[in-house]
Symmetry: C2
Subunit: 153 residues, 2 copies
């Protein structure tokens, strides 16, 4: 903290490239997913999280932890998804404050339809240009930064 706070040229350049890649990657994938499957990237994340558990049913609270979403964000997004029939809410009898979210038939169909195209796109724009060693290095880099960000985001 005593030294200059500034980034050197190389860092500056890398940082801008990082931001740029992310913005474009996100925009591209998100637009594609919306156009071909009618899902937002956030819908996709929720559906994936729900298919990750055996019976497709999770407590809101746990879903929030898993996705690292604020509770109000989760609540509102699920309301919208429920209105579209992709998920359903179920009461929680153990803890009457709580509630479960479960995958509907429609939601399952949607994620099944979207997943292959999504994965293919990610490969096409991201992984197909990188060597195995680059992918490993990138994995290490991300792990390092995640560590520095701490357990709380």
């Amino acid at each position: 903290m005593t030294a200059s706070p500034w980034l050197d040229d190389e860092q500056q350049q890398t940082w801008r490239a990082w931001l740029d890649v992310n913005a474009r990657l996100f925009a591209r994938i998100s637009r594609e997913l919306q156009a071909t499957d009618g899902l937002s990237l956030q819908d996709y994340d929720v559906l994936v999280a729900l298919t990750d558990v055996p019976d497709g049913s999770v407590r809101m609270r746990d879903l929030g932890v898993k996705l690292q979403w604020e509770k109000s964000r989760l609540s509102k997004h699920l309301t919208r998804m429920a209105a579209r029939g992709l998920v359903a809410r179920r009461e929680c009898y153990d803890d009457r404050r709580g509630s479960f979210v479960e995958l509907t038939e429609e939601g399952l169909a949607a994620i099944r339809a979207a997943a292959p195209g999504h994965a293919a796109l990610v490969r096409e724009v991201f992984f197909d240009g990188l060597s195995g060693e680059q992918v490993r290095e990138l994995g290490r880099i991300c792990a390092t930064v995640l560590e520095r960000l701490g357990d709380e985001g």
Copy 2:
């Protein structure tokens, strides 16, 4: 396209880590900037773009190209920023459809106040954990992906 569209385990893991890093990094930096300087990351980007030019005055159109923002996004954001006194609009006499945006004293003061802390935070959570070689490799990776994304985002 004939092969399986899926990602292998290593790719899967790296992809999730990448998404996670981005979400958290963005959240952290954005929250910090808002809390300490009252600026959103988007405000910051606009102000940086304006300080990049000698007289702190740019055509909307050029600003849009530089930031890669949709024109309506730019228009609305600048309206909000102008209402807060960070920027001002000026007429364009060459092309009467157009308009200029210029940095105000307040805007300049805001970016000057915010920049050091922002840069320090980026270094702290991002670069300080990485070796020079990792930074260079990351730069190459970003460049590759940017290329694959094409000139249009």
